[in-house]
């Protein structure tokens, strides 16, 4: 930090120049340090800032005073945003505000929305999702925002056609509207939206009680590109057959009719006939993928992605998909029943340009499929094959040999061993690798991955008990960009692994659940070095106590979520955590050292809490008034009644799992 001298040498810099520098600073951390350099920089940074995500609603008044020209206001970390706050915001950013996210906020009403809409005339994006209390009157407020282009109203259950009608009339420039789970909105409202808002590009109508009646207006929209009709049970073959679509749906690029059980291949062929430009088709959890269904896709000459998750798939159907005269980029067969080696290998041999393939839980496939995948689809970037338990370890060697472009690989619960991992390590672009419940892998395989895959950001080693400190330390040194690591129930890791991981400055998520050997010392080193840490799970780390919490409270200022269940943390540790400003979520089950008084104090001290999981026995011990007070601040209590569980041996755990599956 510079010493303040008069005159400040930085002040000779032109404002534009500093702004250009600031434009290049992407990290919020570096912006912070920039602004703490001197008053001049502080002022400039405040002036320059366009996007804000306040940590708590209490800070908003001072934030408004400091930052003068915010365009993008993300209030997802402020559960408690009331009308007063909103009117302050509306007043402060009357000219600049363009986007407000209120999806996680509660306590505001239609008045606040009205204030925003009326004052902030440049508002183009508004997210009001999860505002389950908002009624039609609030939509009258929304409708005043005449320049709105994007509006999310997910889960606004009290809103009806009337409210949506107001929005339709008021917000004529809408390009995106998301009405997922707005169960009060039906045909009339959607129809009116489609009639009035001609600019619509994207509509999410998932789980609405709509029927075919509104579809004809929707398909008349001239610019519609993205239509989500997930779980619209009211739309079925019969109704689609009765529809006459004129000149519509030509622009549609993405169509999602997942979960529409009443649309079979007949309805689908009707839909595909009118929307010939669809690039991405989501048919998840729909009718069985039979020959006729696959044939109905023939009309879609631009098709690139087909998502069939959860469908029953016949061999004929899958083969027909293989025979489509287009080249798919993405195919998802996650949890599809009936995917056989023969059909799958035929499909992949035909679509050699596949980039993404998801065969999660296709339990029938063997190395035969994997061989054809590896041989045909050389340009795969994402392969997800969790729980393909029949695939033998040798198959993974082939994947490593052929698919060099893999960036995402999910091998959870598979038979892969070190040899396979060594081969897969050739995929140098890997950024996400999931090796959960792979009991055959050891430090050797992990080390080879660490050596080659320097871009790794996400590593899941959940219950892969063969991995020890050595493997983790190799990862820590080989993958400096690591952001997320899950070493839960890797029972042999110790503090040493944590010391190594503390070299990863970008580490955000650390799960070491059930790592019995880890102590507060290891955690302290993580806390001190990984300043970005925001999620921490130390459940069942019996050796972590208050001495681990104190460094956390000092250094991990970004910590949002922590699970302390079964650990040895007491009142003191918990209270010290209250110093973390953005702590939102904690789970405290079976904390032996915790007293109701200490818990009450911690609950009061943590102002930003949104969710707390506690044992039900504590409920009666906490003052009712306190609970209500904390709830009024925006916190939700989840009372759990779990019995104390002793830890199982990993092998034993897997056997138990397999028993459950049968």
């Amino acid at each position: 930090m510079k010493k303040q001298k008069n005159p400040n040498p930085f002040e000779s810099l032109s404002e534009e120049l500093v702004f250009t520098i600031l434009d290049l600073l992407e990290n919020s951390q570096s912006k912070k340090s920039f602004s703490s350099c001197c008053k001049w920089f502080h002022a400039l940074e405040s002036k320059h800032r366009r996007a804000l995500r306040p940590l708590r609603a209490e800070y908003i008044p001072s934030i408004l005073a400091r930052y003068s020209s915010v365009e993008n206001l993300d209030l997802t970390l402020c559960p408690r945003v009331n009308d007063t706050t909103l009117s302050l915001i509306a007043r402060a950013y009357r000219d600049t505000l363009r986007r407000v996210d209120l999806s996680r906020s509660r306590f505001f009403t239609g008045t606040g929305v009205l204030n925003l809409a009326v004052n902030c005339l440049n508002l183009v994006e508004l997210d009001l999702s999860n505002a389950t209390e908002l009624r039609d009157a609030a939509m009258v407020g929304v409708a005043r925002a005449g320049n709105l282009e994007k509006l999310w109203l997910n889960r606004c259950k009290m809103v009806t056609d009337m409210g949506i009608g107001c929005v339709a009339v008021g917000c004529r420039k809408l390009k995106l509207i998301s009405l997922k789970w707005c169960v009060g909105v039906a045909d009339l409202g959607v129809d009116l939206i489609a009639i009035k808002c001609k600019e619509l590009r994207s509509m999410d109508l998932s789980y609405l009680p709509i029927t075919e009646k509104c579809l004809s207006s929707i398909f008349k929209l001239q610019h519609l590109e993205d239509l989500v009709l997930e779980g619209c049970f009211g739309i079925g073959d019969d109704s689609l057959n009765n529809l006459v679509f004129n000149e519509g749906g030509k622009t549609l690029k993405k169509l999602d009719i997942s979960g529409c059980q009443n649309i079979s291949h007949i309805g689908l062929s009707k839909l595909t006939r009118i929307s010939g430009c669809v690039e991405r088709l989501v048919l998840a959890d729909g009718s069985p993928v039979i020959l006729a269904l696959a044939n109905s896709l023939n009309k879609l000459s631009m098709l690139q992605s087909i998502i069939l998750d959860g469908c029953i798939v016949t061999s004929d159907g899958l083969k027909a998909i293989g025979n489509l005269c287009i080249s798919l980029k993405e195919l998802s067969l996650s949890k599809c029943l009936g995917v056989t080696d023969k059909a799958l290998s035929f499909v992949v041999s035909k679509h050699r340009d596949l980039r993404k393939l998801d065969v999660t839980c296709c339990r029938k496939i063997t190395d035969f499929s994997i061989a054809s995948i590896a041989n045909s689809c050389r340009s795969l970037t994402s392969l997800k094959m969790e729980s393909c338990t029949l695939v033998p370890s040798e198959a993974y060697i082939l994947i490593g040999q052929k698919c060099h472009y893999l960036e995402e690989l999910d091998l959870t619960d598979n038979e892969i061993d070190d040899e396979g991992l060594e081969s897969i390590a050739r995929c140098s672009r890997l950024s996400s690798l999931k090796l959960g419940i792979c009991l055959n892998i050891t430090d050797r395989g992990i080390a080879s991955v660490a050596m080659c895959c320097s871009k790794l950001k996400e590593l899941d080693l959940y219950r892969s008990t063969g991995v020890t400190d050595l493997g983790i330390s190799a990862i820590a040194s080989g993958c400096p960009e690591l952001e997320m690591i899950n070493a839960a129930y890797c029972t042999s890791i110790t503090d040493r692994a944590l010391f190594c991981l503390s070299k990863c400055p970008n580490l955000q998520t650390l799960e070491i659940r059930g790592c019995l050997l880890v102590t507060s010392i290891g955690l302290a080193s993580i806390a001190m070095n990984c300043r970005q840490l925001n999620r921490l799970d130390i459940k069942k780390c019996y050796n972590i106590d208050d001495s681990g919490m104190i460094p956390l409270s000092h250094f991990s200022q970004n910590l949002r979520q922590i699970n302390l269940s079964y650990s040895s943390v007491t009142d003191v540790g918990l209270l010290s955590l209250a110093g973390i400003p953005c702590l939102q979520n904690f789970t405290l089950l079976h904390l032996q050292g915790l007293s109701p008084v200490g818990l009450a104090a911690a609950l009061l001290a943590c102002g930003g809490l949104t969710k707390v999981k506690l044992h039900v026995s504590l409920r009666s011990l906490l003052p009712e008034l306190l609970i209500r007070h904390v709830e009024a601040r925006g916190c939700v209590f989840e009372w759990r009644d779990k019995v104390f569980q002793a830890e199982l041996d990993p092998k034993c755990w897997k056997l138990q799992l397999e028993d459950l599956m049968q």
Binding site: L88, V118, L121, D136, G146, D161, G165, C166, V169, K173
Partner: protein
């Protein structure tokens, strides 16, 4: 249609001797020439050279039809001197009646104003009505004396005024080939307004009309006959006086439309329409049609000058029944004196309308910003989809739970919406200033600071706030070019300012 057309043409042909070669057939038919207006001149002329089935039917054959005998006898009597004599004596009788009435009037006028005024006027009305009917009968009977007019005229009673009207209507026919016919039509009282019921009974057109009549008879809405398209003159036009319409009568003369409180009085009145009503049977059952005597289609005219339902209107659309007349007159030209006992806002002039409304009052919960209510949501949404600037109005109770300022805002909004319907239709740029001024005035009256004070806005620049309302106003020109007056409440043009208004 063709048979009729040809028949009509035959009539002309004979009278004007334009087409002598068709006479052979025509003589048969022209003894009972039907009037026809609906068909143009061209068609009939074509038909003449190739007679259709109907045309070639000899009178004996047409006897098969039920109504024919009547007409046949009538036809035979056409030149019967005894019938003529009958008519003359009828005329004499009528003239005597007329004399009596005039005497009555003279006496009434001589009397000092002893009777209450109401009674006098009522009596006068009665007399004039009787007078009219007698005169009408006189004229029609007199007309029937002329050799070329059909016997059936005796049964009909066209109004004097109608004759004039018919002259006008006939004019188009005068053009072209039928020029020579016109003078005869007018001078000779060859009434084209004869009912088509007097036509040859196998006339399809006639049947259709009968059918229509029956269909519509039960509907008392005067608008029902919009699409009827009766050719002008193919029906008889009756016009009741205002007092007549508004009198609380329940029994109406089927001939002249006069209303009576008691059926007995009506029957007494009916005697004046001719001897056939004097028979005991007619007196006992006045409403039953006498025998198979064909009747003229009657349509009614509204006495209100300038009304579309008035016979003098250019695009005159007649009313179907007396009930239609009554309802139309009350609805259109009278005060709405019945107020709904539930909502206390809706007013009606016809008590049946009030009752219908009261049945549904309160159920019309779907409200548009323009103040229109709908009993069905889809109707409201159809309305909103159709009109620009209209928006669903959220019921007040829905907004009650909200915080204070908004609540007030909403109330105000709704009330303005409802109240200001006639206020600045279509805010095109020229009228914007007007709106603006009004907004400004409002802004001045309602100090915006007050409304935001509960929200702790000390130190906010309200001047700027007011200024800010302008740019969006201009912005909205394109998207809200057709703003209803009420819509300035939600159109962004009013911006912050209107909010401040609303919040107060």
């Amino acid at each position: 249609m063709n048979p009729m057309g040809s028949l009509c043409a035959n009539n002309w042909a004979r009278s004007s001797s334009l087409l002598p070669h068709g006479n052979g057939i025509q003589t048969n038919l022209c003894s009972d020439p039907p009037p026809f207006y609906g068909v143009g001149i061209e068609a009939p002329f074509k038909e003449i050279n190739q007679p259709s089935q109907t045309q070639s039917v000899i009178p004996g054959e047409s006897n098969k039809d039920i109504k024919i005998p009547d007409q046949e006898t009538g036809k035979l009597q056409d030149w019967d001197p005894s019938a003529m004599l009958n008519n003359l004596s009828f005329l004499e009788e009528k003239i005597h009646q007329l004399q009596g009435l005039v005497h009555l009037i003279v006496n009434k006028k001589c009397l000092p104003f002893e009777q209450p005024h109401e009674l006098v006027t009522q009596e006068q009305q009665l007399i004039t009505a009787d007078l009219t009917s007698i005169i009408v009968q006189l004229i029609s009977t007199a007309g029937s004396l002329l050799p070329s007019v059909r016997h059936t005229l005796t049964n009909t009673s066209p109004l004097v005024g109608q004759l004039n009207q018919l002259r006008g209507i006939n004019l188009p026919f005068g053009s072209g080939a039928s020029n020579g016919i016109q003078p005869q039509n007018n001078s000779g009282n060859k009434l084209f307004d004869q009912s088509i019921r007097n036509d040859v009974p196998n006339n399809n057109c006639d049947m259709e009309h009968n059918h229509n009549m029956e269909e519509h008879e039960h509907k008392d809405d005067e608008d029902m006959d919009e699409g009827e398209n009766l050719p002008p003159g193919s029906y008889e036009i009756l016009q009741l006086e205002k007092e007549e319409i508004l009198a609380p009568h329940t029994h109406f003369c089927t001939i002249c439309g006069k209303g009576f409180k008691r059926d007995a009085n009506l029957r007494m009145h009916m005697r004046g329409h001719g001897d056939e009503y004097k028979t005991p049977a007619a007196l006992a059952k006045p409403h039953k049609e006498i025998g198979s005597e064909p009747k003229l289609i009657k349509r009614y005219s509204c006495p209100y000058a300038g009304c579309k339902r008035n016979k003098d209107h250019k695009k005159f659309q007649p009313l179907k029944t007396i009930l239609c007349v009554k309802n139309h007159y009350k609805r259109t030209h009278c005060d709405k004196s019945y107020t709904c006992s539930r909502c206390h806002t809706k007013k009606f002039s016809v008590i049946a309308d009030l009752k219908t409304h009261e049945k549904h009052c309160g159920k019309d919960k779907w409200l548009c910003s323009c103040g229109t209510t709908f009993s069905r949501k889809d109707k409201l949404f159809g309305h909103i989809a159709l009109f620009q600037g209209h928006t669903p109005a959220i019921p007040l109770e829905d907004t009650k739970g909200l915080a204070e300022p908004h609540d007030r805002c909403d109330t105000k909004e709704n009330s303005t919406i409802l109240g200001s319907m006639n206020f600045c239709f279509g805010s095109n740029p020229s009228s914007e200033n007007g709106v603006n001024n009004i907004m400004d005035v409002k802004g001045n009256i309602d100090d915006p600071i007050n409304c935001f004070s509960p929200l702790n806005f000390e130190g906010c620049n309200f001047g700027g706030f007011n200024e800010f309302s302008q740019p969006p106003f201009e912005d909205s020109e394109s998207s809200f070019s057709f703003l209803m007056s009420g819509s300035f409440n939600y159109a962004p043009k009013s911006g912050g300012e209107s909010c401040s208004d609303n919040l107060l």
